[in-house]
Every structure is written in structure tokens, then in C-alpha cells.
């Protein structure tokens, strides 16, 4: 392939940042699925709530407050949703979960459209994150003038930190231990006197909170209109499935894979437009449980 080092670097970075936003959304989705066994089609709508809250708070009170307020608000919304709706569906077929959350997604999207209108609301990048970084200053192998938006690199960092935090929570804390045990065998934990229901509720809240973080940092990138939720839902969902339902590592891997694929095929419209579906089909046919999916889950 005829590609300069400059072009390769730009495509690589673009793939990474496209993947980052997918990962941030897929992370909550796969966490909720892996722990609660719930297929949440309303996750895109949670992201939608997050960006509308974020842009409203940002425009009225500044980005700092948006960052402080939005994730906890989403946490609370997640908990209310779990108590009010999702918990009724723990023992119902996955099909029903998909359907009810899909319905919820439509309702939330239309409600937000009603309140804010169908037109895009501009979400400006805060001044400290605005501007571009001169990559050639840092990477000596680049020739001449190569730049990248600062905010998108921040987004990559946020994504990495969030992934690391979730991993740490699950693998280094007692809470995480119980959750992981609950994923294996919830009934056994109940017998041992662990209130697994309360923990499930918190996990759902956490999933929503990650959507909140994604909204605060992703909003200036995806922008803010009612269609955004559904537009992100399908790719994020495909990423969760490609990675293996319930596998955090799989979601990260699949997110970056899809991001890279979209970035490197950009000049070739025919491949670019179907690449995500092509990858999904090939991976699921070759490796049914997804890249890092646990054996037996949903196979």
C-alpha cells in the first residue's frame, strides 16, 4: 500500500480515537450484560441523556460543573431505571429485554426531541482542551507538519483511564469480587446471605455513569441531536458482540479494531460503508463467542 508514515500515523490515531468513543459506550453495555445478563438497547439513550445534560450544564455553568454533575446524575438515573423497569426483566427472555429497552430508547429519544428540538445543539470544546497538538514536535520520525486535535487525544486518555478504573474495581475490590462471583452464580451468593440485588442495582448505575462520562467528553465530538443515541447504539452493540458478550477486554479490543478498520478504509467508500458489518459477520462465523467471550455464554 502506498502510504506515507505521516498518513499512517494520522490514520492510526484516528482509529484509536474512533475506537475510544465506541469503547466508552460499549463498556457500560457489556458491564451490564456480563453482570446482570440484561441486553440493554436503551444504552444509547442513556448516552443521549448524558450529552443533553452535559451541553446544558456546560453552556449555563461551564464544563467543570458538567464534568462533576453529569456522571452522578446518570448514576442515579441508572438506579431508578433498574429499580423501576429493568429488574422486572431479569427472569424474562433476552428477547423481551431487547424489546422493552428498545421501546425505552424510542421514548427517551422522542422526549428529548420534544424538549430540545430536533436540531443540533452546538457543544463547544472547553478552552483548555481546544486547539491542536503539533505531533511533529513529539514524534521525530514524522516529516514536516503533522497535527491532531487535542480534545480527541484527551478522549483517548479518558477512555483508557475509565477502562482501567472499571478493571480495577472488578479485580481489586471486594465489591468487584462479589460482582464477579455473582456473574458466575447468583443463586449461590444469595444462599450465602449476600444481597446481590443491591449490588446489581449499583452495577446498572455504574454502567449508566460510564455513559455519563462518555457523554461529557464525547459530546463535543459526536455533537448533540436526538439521532445520536441510535446512531451509536448499533456499532456499540456490534462491538460488544464481536468482543464477546460480557467481556470487558473483548469490548476494548473490538472497539479499537472497528475504529482502526473505519479509519484505514476511509478512502475506499465501498469497503468503508460495510466494513463494520463485514467484520461482525466474519468474526461471529469464525469465532461464535466473539473475540474474548467466555465459553458457553449465549452461544
Amino acid at each position: 500500500m502506498d502510504m506515507t508514515l505521516n498518513a499512517f500515523t494520522l490514520s492510526l490515531l484516528t482509529g484509536l480515537q474512533l475506537g475510544s468513543i465506541y469503547v466508552l459506550i460499549a463498556l457500560g453495555l457489556t458491564l451490564i450484560f456480563g453482570t446482570l445478563g440484561v441486553v440493554n438497547f436503551a444504552h444509547g439513550a442513556l448516552y443521549l441523556i448524558a450529552i443533553y445534560l452535559a451541553v446544558s450544564i456546560n453552556n449555563a455553568l461551564g464544563f467543570g460543573l458538567a464534568l462533576i454533575l453529569v456522571p452522578p446524575i446518570l448514576f442515579v438515573i441508572g438506579i431508578l431505571l433498574e429499580r423501576g423497569l429493568i429488574q422486572r426483566f431479569y427472569n424474562r427472555p433476552h428477547t423481551d429485554q431487547i424489546l422493552v429497552t428498545f421501546g425505552l430508547a424510542i421514548v427517551l429519544q422522542e422526549l428529548l426531541k420534544w424538549i430540545f428540538g430536533a436540531n443540533n445543539i452546538p457543544f463547544a470544546i472547553p478552552s483548555w482542551g481546544n486547539g491542536i497538538i503539533m505531533l511533529h514536535d513529539y514524534l521525530p520520525f514524522l516529516e514536516g507538519f503533522v497535527v491532531y486535535p487535542k480534545w480527541r487525544l484527551i478522549l483517548v486518555v479518558v477512555s483508557i483511564v475509565t477502562v482501567a478504573a472499571v478493571f480495577a474495581l472488578l479485580h481489586l475490590t471486594r465489591f468487584g469480587l462479589v460482582i464477579r462471583a455473582g456473574m458466575r452464580d447468583a443463586e449461590m451468593l444469595q444462599f450465602m446471605g449476600v444481597n446481590i440485588n443491591r449490588r446489581f442495582m449499583i452495577v446498572f448505575g455504574l454502567g449508566a455513569m460510564i455513559a455519563g462520562i462518555a457523554g461529557v467528553f464525547g459530546g463535543p465530538v459526536t455533537q448533540v441531536s436526538p439521532e445520536v443515541g441510535m446512531q451509536l447504539l448499533v456499532p456499540s452493540f456490534l462491538i460488544v458482540v464481536i468482543g464477546g458478550m460480557g467481556s470487558l477486554g473483548g469490548a476494548v479490543l473490538a472497539g479499537i479494531l472497528i475504529g482502526m478498520a473505519q479509519s484505514f478504509t476511509a478512502p475506499y467508500i465501498y469497503i468503508n460503508t460495510i466494513i463494520i458489518y463485514l467484520i461482525t459477520v466474519i468474526i461471529l462465523l469464525v469465532r461464535p463467542r466473539g473475540l474474548l467471550g467466555a465459553k458457553g455464554v449465549f452461544e
Partner: protein, 324 residues
């Protein structure tokens, strides 16, 4: 030996449907319907009945049935435009093309179950949609849709107005009857056994895959007939026919009506199209919101859809009588 009474007993549902369908031009306008919409309802009845053969009988939830609907519609359009304005060869070629695609996709996807199957079918359908929009737009017309077909003809008969309605209604009745026959046949029982417990079925030495594939291809053929009739009804193909909204709409229709009952999904199709095109006008811009709420309420409280509501009412009615 089938006596006359037996025939009535056996085919009560089909005859009832035939009565409702064929008299539709008489009663539908009374509730705000119109002649374009009744035809579309008949076409979607075919689509959902076929979908129920897959989802209702075998329990496989496809998110990609728009693929067969759309491929058939495009094929029909291209046939009408370039080959002949007679609909018979167009429908036959279109259904054959969609069946072939269904066979290939079925062989690939039915190895998987549950959510993986759903996602695979979704991915295939979205791939076709993207292709129709992009690399195939020379043939499909892309975003603008496929236009410029002549008025479809059934030999010397123009397929317009009432003619096209009765043609679609008769097809719907015939295909509903066939679906009923399949349901009662040993093949239908096998399909339903897949839904109950596939593993157990396979222990008995029965090749479940064969029946799954049959159900998948049959439902795709129904979708293909519906897709082809859409073009007979209106010589136009939009890329939306292939999109996941179309697949999703079929799922919603089936669920609202009552999955696995054959007649339920048809009720659901009628309700959805009526709601979208007649009731929506009085609801204005928020009609989609209301539809979303209705859909959620049905899924939460009435997983069996309208048919469950009917059954509950029936039960209540009959228990009261028993009590007396």
C-alpha cells in the same frame, strides 16, 4: 374424511380472516382508513405471518428480515423496468432471488442462536442496505430510490386501486392458510419443538438444523412475496425497505400482536400501520413517543400481545358464565 363441518372447524381462523380482509374496502374507510393503506396492511400481513413461522415457531429472532423484503422489492422493480411489466415473472424471479440469498444466510447464521443469531442477521441486512445505498446505487437508485417502472400489469389487468388490493388480499389469505397448514403439519411440530428444547430434540436423532433452515427460508419467502407485492402496489423501491428500521418494525408488529399465534402479528401489523398513518395525524409530532409508550406497556404487562389480552378477556368472560 373431512366433512363440511370439519372443514369449517379446521379453517375457522382462515375463513374469518378472509371475511375481514375481503370486506376491508367497505369498513376500513369508516374508521379513517383509505385504499392505499388497506393494500399495505395486506402486504404486511404476509410479511408478519412469515416472520411468525420463524420467530413464533422456532423462537429465532431475526433482526434482518428486511433484507429479503428489500432484495425482492429491488428485483421486482428491476424486472418490471427492464424485462416486462407483467408481474408474474417479476414476482417469481424476485422470490427466487430472495430465497437463494436466504438459503445462504440461513446456512451461515443458523449455526448460532439467541442474540448472536439476531446480531448476525442484523449485520447482513445492514450490509445489504449500505451496498444498495452506495456501490449498487446505479441499479437501486440509492437514496432517491428505484423509480421509473411502468404500471405493473397482471397480463391485461392494470394493478391499480381495487385490483391491486384484492390481488394482495387473496395472496394474504392463501399464504395465511398455508402457514396454518404448516403449523399443523409434522414439520410445524418439529419447528415448535426447536423452540421448546433444541438439545432434547437433537438427542432423539432428529436433524433440527434442517427444520430451522426450512423455517428460516419459508419466512424469508413470505418476506419476499411481501416485498415484491410492495412494488406491484406502488412502482417504487426505497432503500428503507432494507434498513433495520424495517426489520425492527416487523418485530414490533409481531410482539404487539402476539408472537406465535399467526393471527396476532397480523393484528399487530394492522394496528401499527393504522396508528402510524391515521391516528398519528391527530397526535401530531409526538405520535412516535406515544407509540413507544404503547409498545413498552405491551412488553411489560402483556408479553403475549393483543392475543394475550383477547385470551384473558375470553377467560374472564367464560369463567363468569361458569360461575353462574
Amino acid at each position: 374424511m373431512i366433512t363440511q363441518q370439519n372443514f369449517w372447524q379446521h379453517n375457522k381462523a382462515v375463513l374469518m380472516f378472509a371475511l375481514v380482509a375481503l370486506t376491508m374496502p367497505l369498513w376500513f374507510p369508516l374508521i379513517g382508513g383509505y385504499s392505499g393503506l388497506d393494500t399495505k396492511i395486506m402486504i404486511f400481513c404476509i410479511f408478519v405471518v412469515g416472520f411468525d413461522i420463524l420467530l413464533g415457531f422456532t423462537g429465532y429472532l431475526s433482526f434482518g428480515h428486511a433484507a429479503f423484503f428489500g432484495i425482492s422489492a429491488y428485483t421486482t422493480g428491476i424486472m418490471l423496468k427492464n424485462f416486462s411489466d407483467n408481474i408474474i415473472p417479476a414476482i417469481i424471479v424476485a422470490v427466487a432471488a430472495a430465497t437463494l440469498v436466504a438459503l445462504i444466510i440461513g446456512l451461515l447464521t443458523l449455526k448460532r442462536t439467541g442474540i448472536y443469531f439476531s446480531i448476525l442477521t442484523l449485520a447482513f441486512a445492514e450490509m445489504f442496505d449500505s451496498m444498495a445505498m452506495s456501490m449498487l446505487q446505479k441499479w437501486t437508485g440509492g437514496e432517491n430510490g428505484l423509480t421509473g417502472m411502468p404500471t405493473p400489469m397482471l397480463f391485461d389487468l392494470k394493478m391499480q386501486g381495487d385490483t391491486v388490493f384484492y390481488f394482495c388480499a387473496l395472496m394474504a389469505i392463501l399464504l395465511y392458510y398455508l402457514a396454518k397448514r404448516i403449523e399443523r403439519s409434522p414439520v410445524g411440530l418439529m419447528m415448535k419443538a426447536i423452540k421448546c428444547n433444541q438439545t432434547r430434540l437433537e438427542y432423539t436423532g432428529i436433524n433440527a438444523r434442517k427444520y430451522k433452515l426450512l423455517a428460516f427460508v419459508l419466512s424469508a419467502m413470505y418476506a419476499a412475496v411481501a416485498g415484491s407485492l410492495m412494488v406491484v402496489y406502488e412502482p417504487f423501491v426505497g432503500h428503507e425497505f432494507l434498513g433495520w428500521h424495517q426489520s425492527g418494525e416487523i418485530v414490533i408488529m409481531s410482539v404487539i400482536g402476539g408472537v406465535g399465534t399467526l393471527v396476532g402479528p397480523m393484528l399487530g401489523a394492522g394496528f401499527m400501520l393504522y396508528f402510524e398513518n391515521v391516528l398519528s395525524v391527530s397526535l401530531g409530532e409526538q405520535w412516535l413517543l406515544v407509540l413507544g409508550v404503547i409498545f413498552m406497556v405491551v412488553v411489560i404487562f402483556m408479553p403475549g400481545g393483543f392475543m394475550e389480552a383477547v385470551a384473558r378477556l375470553k377467560k374472564r368472560f367464560f369463567t363468569t358464565i361458569d360461575g353462574e
